[in-house]
Amino acid sequence: MTSGTEKANGTKKVGLMGWLDERLGLEAAFKFAQKKQVPIHKNSVWYYAGGIALMLMVIQFASGILLMVYYVPGLEAAHASILRINSQVDFGWFFRSIHSWGANLLIAVLVGHLFSAYFMKAYRKPREFTWYSGLILLVICLGFGFTGYLLPWDDVSFFATKIGLDIASKMPVFGEAAASLLRGGHNIGQGTLSRFFVIHVALLPLLCLGLMGLHLLFVQMHGMSEPGYFKKLEAAKRTYEKFFPNFFLKDLLVWLLALNGLAALVTLYPWGLGPEADPFGAAPIGIKPEWYFLAPFQFLKLVPPQVGPFEGELFGALLMVLACSGMVIVPFFDKGESAEKAKIATYYGLVLLLGIIAFTIWGALS
């Protein structure tokens, strides 16, 4: 009956699509999806970064859920369960390596995504919330990395966590309380492992899903941002391609390549596992944090134990927070009205990026 009236209207589709459309509003959803266009210019490749991050995130979720089947978050059992995943469970080494390599690649891609958006000035109105949700997503992923690193309970991860929490406890006001909540006691032990596990597999995934949904919704709502030089082109020279299906198909191709890259890494360089943590043994020689924490690690090494009234760690951490705070205020500083401010923002971004790269390399070499 309803389909009859639709036919009469002559506008609606009949059959299954029509039936679904009436119930799900597919038409509107398609329209929403088709709205997006991708500008074509010399920096268009960076538009792939977000998509790759999305794909890697899906891989982290899938491999993480698989790992949870055999992983046991207990002081005596954790390291043994990873050993078992690595050596006895069929394809266990594969999924564990995927998860570890994937985590590293994800963070690398996110950093690229962040800075490309920054230099294309995509944080400007109306995309402030897109920018902030992205910043928080990066912090969440660093949280994933920090909490996940402890789970295998090997010697390096034990001390990495120890240092991380000790730095946290030196922060003003809430530092001590937050560190003690996370540590679950005076020493790193079962309490810490349980908490990190829960944060890693429940709390952060929930937060992450919600924010990813928002982030993607915002992107879809506002369309792709166009860099200034592209906007200034005369209309005829500004070329676009449709996101659906053109760019999306290219996205799929890139995902496939990235996936192959990941699989190659995983099989050629399976992720290792250090000896089990010994809370009373000495810190292993050559201990270093994951590469994405190397820059702050190296920076803190340079700060003397006491700077004026401040303890070295606190001073160093405050300095780093200050250095990064530009990322937070930039949408309200560089609103696109003043060329002067746009330039300042670009230089700030360059200095920050080069600083991070330099400290990371320095930390890796020393």
């Binding site: 909540l181 000495a282 303890e311």
Partner: protein, 227 residues
């Protein structure tokens, strides 16, 4: 609850705060939107305009009233002006308040639940430990051991003396070790160095010396106790 009926013309609507007397159920009971807006006088209080109330039903006109009451301290203040507000305004103020209080009430048990109470941690009750035979620790060597819940370190320096310390680096809490080739106590995390006899911080980021413990040798056995 009394309803505003056209016959209630004589009723005075000067008292009664939020949700108080029956009049709280609708301020501006007079007439349609236009009538209602004129019924809200400059004081922000909503006074019934007799002329319009006589003709109209008792539908409340939310918007004008909201602006009227809201601009004047909002709901809850029952000052002598006889300020009133509508049920919807009251709810709009009350829902976030109750929600906030509820959230605080929920946060407290959650915070307490997550706060470690140390019940399962025997807080370093140990006062001395036997860490083995002196023969196993020749001069120029050192060894990490467990002192209660604290990592500890003993050094046998080349001058033949024994020294014991907490092995917790005073920088960021890594566990230090004795490096025989450097003749130093060394921390792998950021390269802090301590003197193997005194435990004094001699290089790198550590801000303080290591906490010293007491060493005795009883019948060739090394006994370490709290200093």
């Amino acid at each position: 609850m009394e309803d505003h009926k056209p016959e209630d013309k004589s009723e005075k609507h000067e008292h009664g705060g939020c949700g108080g007397s029956g009049s709280g159920s609708s301020c501006g009971s007079g007439g349609d939107a236009k009538g209602g807006s004129s019924a809200c006088d400059g004081n922000g209080g909503c006074h019934e305009d007799k002329s319009s109330s006589g003709t109209a039903s008792s539908t409340s006109s939310a918007e004008p009233v909201t602006s009227g009451c809201g601009s004047n301290g909002g709901c809850g203040s029952s000052d002598s002006d006889g300020e009133k507000c509508s049920r919807s305004q009251f709810l709009r103020a009350a829902v976030p308040c109750v929600g906030g209080v509820w959230a605080l009430m929920a946060a407290y048990p959650i915070y307490s639940y997550l706060t470690p109470n140390g019940g399962d941690e025997p807080e370093s009750k140990v006062s001395s430990v036997n860490i083995g035979d002196i023969k196993d620790l020749p001069p120029g060597s050192g060894k990490n051991f467990k002192f209660g819940s604290m990592p500890a370190l003993i050094t046998h320096t080349k001058d033949g003396e024994l020294h014991a310390f907490s092995a917790v680096c005073t920088h960021l809490g890594c566990t230090v070790q004795f490096r025989p080739e450097k003749d130093l106590i060394w921390c792998a995390c950021h390269g802090g160095c301590y003197d193997p006899s005194s435990g004094k911080n001699v290089a790198g980021p550590p801000p303080k010396p290591l906490l010293a413990l007491k060493v005795e040798v009883v019948k060739d056995k090394i006994i370490v106790s709290k200093a």
